[in-house]
């Protein structure tokens, strides 16, 4: 067997059934191995970045490690944004990149790029695999590193000769890995857990802040049980949206710059903050010091480097959130924080947004609420939001009952949603998958409509079209006295006609009165669908008018 065939065998051993990618000269031996073996499905994207986003969406929807592959040079450099996106959001992925022959490395030959060097800040680990014999060990390690501890992307750079060379001896996939410097701790320290229990027992106004770590740890059920037994209200970061059911009486919404009032009020008036897999990013907690001054902080995270990085922690607990929450819940007695919860509920009710219908326009917040109502009658949906106003409208208005919310929270990568949605749909074909984007982000990724058609991936695409780069426009309103610069999206095509050119069913709606029926038609359609909403340019991302 060649190195390329060995890789394919290893992927099969890891349970990989689909690879998202784009071929080229140096990775060609791997593509030949795919041609000779039907066990692995290859999904050809239209630009390498989207192969990475697709692997990310696949990974997040399936809970498995997503795999993508590209060729060397520009193929690999196009992938960097996707790797950085996955790294910031801790998504387990393995990226295979072709590389020039090892005897040509460093000579600046055609399509050579030092991709392991370039990706050092954006990957959890990387390999330059120059020895075919080491491939089984490298791949075993890569999947282990990507999926354990704090998950993240791992890059394997594969010189062409490594792929072509015959593997000597009998192939055996390693059963286990032993990396001397890599032993993530999963169980919380008993002493810190005890201190946390004492702090919780004393607290009058405790709050749980659920971040992306809850998703990574698959700790949704444990979070809900923990909150319910201890009667502690929950707020979430953008990355934690969807973990606590939106309609749950203890859920106070998303906090932060683009969050809602009750959530921010809660975190600023709490006397105990329990951070669960939340890294206290600036968009979630701009004034972390102020919060920490008023409250005791319990910080639970699998990554010790996150504890104390952006906020001081009084009680640090390094461990797997699922195990830690489960253990605390078991050891804790039941509590009631009725006054505190009712106070927050009142704040939530006072600040419920009122939508005003504008004739000839669709209010995106109302649209998202209607979509979520209609969808919940049918299935647990996966909603992928892009970046910008559309992301905030989605996060604050789509109600999650068990579905999933995927977005690029950390890096804020425009053009994430379509790739991620197609990956998610392949992982969960039985679920409705939506990509919600703006007309800006859509035009960064619209080439992927062809991928949806070619591979028959029935994703529903919702475009919020306001002919503006809305989020930047808001910024220019706020900080630059409304001097709009580079935010007008004139020259965009007719997206309905564009979709139709791909053979995709599509329609445009231009009034709130059309929303219900249009959503019904989209949900009834079994294939890919593009729904374009005409949105007034002055509807802000903020929830309150």
């Amino acid at each position: 067997m060649t190195g390329a065939q060995i890789i394919l065998e290893c992927l099969k051993q890891e349970g990989v059934s689909v690879v998202f990618g784009y071929p080229g000269a140096t990775i060609a031996p791997f593509y030949d191995a795919i041609a000779l073996d039907s066990a692995i499905r290859h999904v050809l994207v239209r630009q390498e970045q989207n192969a990475g986003h697709a692997a990310s969406g696949y990974s997040r929807a399936s809970g498995k490690v997503g795999v993508c592959c590209t060729t060397s040079g520009p193929g690999a450099t196009n992938l960097i944004t996707a790797l950085a996106t996955a790294y910031m959001d801790s998504i387990p992925m393995v990226a295979l990149t072709g590389q020039v022959r090892s005897d040509l490395l460093g000579r600046d030959v055609f399509q050579e790029a030092d991709i392991t060097g370039a990706c050092e800040p954006f990957t959890k680990h990387s390999y330059l695999a120059t020895d075919t014999q080491e491939l089984p060990t490298i791949i075993k390690e890569a999947f282990h590193i990507a999926s354990t501890g704090r998950p993240g992307p791992v890059l394997i750079d594969l010189p062409q000769d490594t792929l072509e060379r015959e593997f000597v001896g009998e192939f055996r996939y390693p059963d286990s890995v032993d990396i001397i410097g890599y032993k993530p701790r999963t169980k919380g320290h008993p002493l810190q857990m005890k201190r946390a229990l004492d702090a919780i027992a004393k607290a009058e106004r405790p709050i749980i802040c659920a971040g992306g770590g809850v998703v990574s740890a698959k700790a949704r059920r444990e979070l809900i049980k923990f909150a319910e037994k201890l009667d502690i209200p929950v707020v979430s970061t953008l990355m934690g949206v969807g973990m606590m059911p939106t309609e749950h009486p203890l859920y106070m919404g998303m906090l932060g710059t683009h969050g809602i009032y009750s959530a921010n009020y809660a975190i600023h008036h709490a006397d105990l903050v329990i951070l669960c897999g939340a890294r206290v990013g600036d968009r979630a907690m701009a004034k972390a010091d102020q919060i920490a001054k008023k409250a005791e902080i319990i910080h639970i995270d699998i990554d010790p480097a996150e504890i104390g990085k952006n906020m001081k922690a009084d009680i640090p607990i390094v461990g797997d959130i699922r195990l830690v929450l489960k253990s605390i819940t078991e050891k804790c007695e039941e509590f009631s924080h009725r006054d505190w919860v009712e106070d927050l509920k009142a704040k939530q009710a006072e600040h419920t947004p009122v939508f005003r219908s504008i004739p000839g326009q669709v209010d995106p917040r109302n649209f998202m609420r209607t979509l979520s109502e209609e969808v919940s009658k049918r299935s647990k949906a996966i909603l992928v939001a892009d970046v910008g106003e559309n992301q905030i409208w989605s996060a604050n208005n789509f109600a999650f009952k068990g579905g999933r919310f995927l977005t690029s929270g950390g890096l804020g990568t425009m053009g994430y949603s379509l790739g991620a949605a197609l990956g998610a749909k392949i992982a969960k074909p039985e679920r409705q998958v939506f990509a919600v984007c703006g007309d800006g982000s859509f035009q960064m990724m619209m080439c992927e409509l062809a991928t949806l058609v070619q591979h028959d991936i029935p994703v529903k695409v919702v475009i919020m079209q306001n002919n503006r780069l809305g989020m930047v426009r808001e910024l220019q309103d706020k900080l630059y006295e409304g001097r709009y610069s580079g935010v007008m999206l004139d020259g965009s095509p007719d997206f309905v006609k564009l979709a139709q050119a791909y053979g995709i069913a599509s329609e445009r709606i231009e009034d709130d009165s059309d929303v219900n029926a249009a959503i019904g038609r989209m949900l009834d359609c079994d294939s890919t669908y593009v729904l374009v909403c005409r949105v007034a340019e002055d509807i802000p991302s903020r929830q309150e008018n």
Binding site: T116, P121, I145, K309
Partner: protein, 163 residues
Amino acid sequence: MRYTITVLVQNHYGVLSKVSGLIARRGFNIESLAVGVTENPNVSRMTIVVDCDESGIEQVEKQLNKLIPTIKVKVLEEGSYLARELTMVKVSCNSRQREEIMTLAELMHARIIDVTASSLTLELTDTTARTENFISLMHQFGIKELVRTGISAIELGANTTKK
């Protein structure tokens, strides 16, 4: 403040750039970095001197620990370790100055390792403070070239930094 960190890493391709890149990316200045293989040929030891504040060094330590090839990271406490650096200095020297330089070298426990008609090259292995003293003494003769390795550090007593 100046911190001395000792790091055990796997002796692999690219590890040095991973370690130095990580520190530089977070905006901390590496004052010196010395690396060499240990008693185990698969393991290298780095001694890194970083200038940063207390929260900075905590982040550096935690982030270094996250690197996969890192085996052990320890920020050495002041007074708990011995540190030495090697310095080689080439000074201008005519025949009249030679004796004076040789006397200074002897006083400072430096060795003369190369001699020409117009220069002397000296070697000193010592602490950073004594090294700096030595260099300032050499300035009067005109330093043509100065090479410093940066410190290597080892803990005092029977303790070792191992996994």
